[in-house]
């Protein structure tokens, strides 16, 4: 515990940092949603430039969703992943598609960055925080691609090493023996992820937390009334109207 050197550093990076970043993430996200609801979105620039936008945003988002879901599944169901990977063919399919998704994500990101630099209108709506996010993403995706290429087979060792480490954090019994021996590129990937989690709630990344949830189930029209009225008065029979008395 009191040893100096790499072990202390590991403790800071893989025990203290994840908890700090998670706490920051939760507190700031919730506080911002409650008190600054107006700021809770991304700042879309599609209106200012409509063509290049498609080639950056779409591959990036679909790529990152696949990669992110992959990490979460491997964290939640490590045994099932190991079972799946027990056949080489299935392992190649899994690793191959994950790698393609990550490449898609990288291509999209590069395209987004080029658009941000070259289009004068888009430059105007780009903040310093946006550049920090881009830098963080570059580190994150490149380190991930490197690990996938040179420390194979990630999907299997994630299930047997990273998943138990993450679970040890969740159960508040942090055990860093799983990660201390890992190659430094993997460590970089993990630390970069924690950085992103800590930084996200201050930036446009909060848009990850808003999904069109009620839309998918609500009726087409929305009507709001002042004050409180008896439900019958608001009429449930009206043409497909969804009634919301929140204001």
């Amino acid at each position: 515990m009191f040893e100096i050197g790499p072990f202390l550093l590991d403790t800071v990076l893989f025990v203290v940092f994840p908890y700090v970043s998670l706490v920051v993430f939760l507190i700031v996200s919730i506080r911002r949603y409650r008190s600054e609801s107006f700021t809770y979105s991304s700042l879309s620039s599609q209106f200012l430039e409509n063509k290049h936008h498609f080639w950056g945003l779409v591959p990036f988002h679909y790529g990152i969703i696949v990669v992110l879901v992959g990490h979460v599944v491997a964290f939640l169901l490590p045994r099932e992943i190991l079972w799946w990977n027990s056949h080489p063919a299935r392992l190649y399919i899994l690793e191959g598609s994950a790698f393609v998704a990550a490449l898609l994500c990288m291509v999209g990101l590069v395209s987004i960055i080029i658009r941000r630099i070259t289009d004068p209108k888009i430059r105007i709506v780009t903040s310093v925080a946006d550049w920090v996010i881009f830098g963080n993403f570059i580190v994150q995706i490149l380190s991930g691609l490197y690990v996938a290429l040179f420390h194979s087979w990630g999907s299997s060792w994630f299930a047997s090493l990273a998943a138990p480490y993450l679970w040890s954090l969740v159960t508040l019994t942090p055990d860093i023996t799983y990660v201390t021996a890992m190659p430094w590129m993997v460590k970089l990937h993990i630390v970069s992820a924690y950085t992103m989690i800590a930084f996200a709630p201050f930036t446009r990344l909060v848009h990850i937390l808003v999904v069109p949830n009620p839309y998918l189930w609500r009726k087409p029209q929305v009507v709001r009334w002042y004050g409180i009225r008896r439900k019958s008065k608001r009429s449930t029979a009206e043409s497909g109207a969804f009634v919301d008395a929140s204001n």
């Binding site: 911002r32 945003l57 930036t203 029979a237 009206e238």
Partner: protein
């Protein structure tokens, strides 16, 4: 019957002089902020012309409004499934190029330029980037047809017009145009509201004004694509969408909206309509040629005791019912049937109606002489300079019947008044023309009075909004009064 009240509007196009005073009044109050410079919640277009944003009426391009698919009413631009798959890039979204890049001038260069042999100039600079730009389009670029035929010839409403009729519109020295002022229609079946993934858009229950909740808007831009009139706008600086609010803070204190109040030609009328909210979907699904009649049938007679009883049952205040009984909009739309909704084929059931314009008198030029085409005092409506089909494409879903009726009645009123005031047309002839136009003498007097002699109070019949009663439902108004009136205004700041 589920009675609701809606603040509705009539624009009398024959009176519009195209001065843009309404646009400027609106701009100065609402859209001079950063990110909104390009927005014109109120704008005035020249017709025939391409409008703002360019060719907004062409839904093959913009995909706004509703369409009937297998008997179902669906949005053209999106659906629940498409909202999820297209959430990162909205394929139906217009871009700034479809509107224009807003600009200002470097006025200080006029004063600070060093002494020299040339005249200092104020060069245009973009209000987005701050850099010098070459101005290539603007919000009323084709105003008065903009000195070129291409604008008029690109009007989507020319569909179905013969070559001869097109020639008639744009023949040199016989060119004809009229003005078409536009604001949000505060529709009964708004496609912007239906498309919003965050549920930020809503219709106010008490007065039907359609608003965007800025705190709930997540900048998904679906409303911009879904509105067929292109009257929701994306603020590129705050990342939220904004639209005409019908100056509700003014309405709530009994004042007319700024664009109405400032209208020089006094073309604008505002009043309450009572309508049956239970039949909206049924009407919005009618075939094109029945839409106008269907839309009118939604509007209820505020003098009918049954309607009054149903309105009271729905908590509509007696003062609002009384306001509906005096509504100038009710007279134009329902009693006289001379005001028509714009592009009802978009099926949003707009609540802004237009009295279609009469064309200038027709004359033929034979060498050096000009002679009237018609023997009648006013020319034949069907021979009008603006082809009836053009107006029908704008205000009749492509069908001429309702347009013909409205224009004939207007013409009959003119003949009748000419007979009354000048006397060179026998009253018998005038009365016959009135009868033919389905108009009584009383009605003609009413139309004449509300068109020509209308006072401020007759044009704007604003119902009391009764906020105090709404507050009463929540807490003691006296207590509320002492708890408000002092606060802080924050700029629309985003995160890092």
């Amino acid at each position: 019957m589920n009675v609701r009240s809606q603040i509705s509007m009539v624009f009398h196009l024959d009176k519009c002089i195209g001065c843009h005073t309404c646009s400027i009044a609106c701009k100065n109050i609402w859209t001079d902020r950063k990110g909104t410079e390009y927005m014109w919640w109120n704008n005035v277009e020249t017709k025939p012309g391409t409008g703002f944003p360019t060719k907004w009426e062409d839904q093959e391009k913009y995909r706004g409004g509703w369409e009937l698919r297998d008997g179902k009413l669906v949005l053209k631009s999106t659906s629940k499934a498409k909202t999820v798959t297209n959430i990162f890039h909205n394929p139906s979204m217009p871009s700034m190029d479809d509107y224009y890049e807003p600009w200002t001038y470097k006025y200080d260069e006029l004063f600070n330029a060093p002494e020299g042999s040339d005249q200092p100039t104020a060069r245009p600079v973009s209000m987005v980037t701050g850099e010098y730009i070459n101005v290539e389009s603007g919000p009323n670029w084709d105003d008065d047809l903009g000195g070129s035929r291409i604008y008029a010839e690109s009007d989507p409403n020319l569909k179905g017009l013969s070559e001869e009729q097109r020639q008639q519109l744009s023949a040199v020295e016989r060119l004809v145009l009229f003005y078409f002022p536009r604001i949000c229609n505060h529709c009964l079946n708004p496609s912007c509201v239906a498309s919003c993934p965050s549920g930020a858009l809503y219709k106010r229950g008490e007065d039907g004004i359609v608003l965007i909740d800025q705190k709930r808007c997540r900048g998904w831009r679906a409303c911009v694509a879904a509105c067929p009139y292109k009257k929701t706008f994306y603020n590129w600086s705050t990342g939220k969408s904004e639209k005409c609010v019908l100056c509700y803070p003014r309405l709530e204190t009994g004042e007319a909206p700024a664009c109405f109040h400032s209208c020089v030609g006094r073309i604008r009328y505002l009043g309450v309509l009572l309508y049956d909210a239970d039949r909206l979907e049924e009407v919005a699904k009618l075939p094109d040629e029945q839409l106008i009649d269907g839309h009118r049938s939604l509007i209820l007679d505020p003098h009918d005791p049954e309607v009054i009883a149903a309105a009271r049952k729905n908590d509509i205040h007696d003062s609002v019912i009384e306001s509906a009984q005096n509504s100038p909009v009710y007279k134009f739309v329902k009693e006289w049937k001379i005001a028509l909704p714009p592009h009802i084929e978009f099926r949003t059931l707009p609540m802004l109606f237009y009295v279609p314009p009469m064309s200038p008198v027709m004359a033929n030029r034979n060498d050096d002489t000009v002679s009237s085409v018609s023997d009648e005092f006013f020319h034949d409506i069907e021979q009008a300079r603006v082809p009836l089909q053009f107006l029908a494409n704008l205000f009749g879903a492509g069908h001429q019947g309702k347009l013909l009726y409205a224009l004939k009645k207007q013409k009959a009123v003119r003949v009748y008044r000419r007979s009354r005031t000048v006397g060179d047309i026998p009253m018998k002839t005038a009365e016959a023309i009135l009868r033919e136009a389905d108009c009584t003498v009383e009605e003609a007097e009413g139309i004449y009075k509300l068109t020509s002699l209308c006072t401020f109070e007759e044009r704007f019949v604003i119902p009391p909004m009764h906020r105090e009663e709404a507050i009463e439902m929540m807490k003691d108004p006296q207590e509320h009064k002492t708890a408000v009136g002092f606060g802080f205004l924050d700029p629309p700041k985003r995160g890092l």
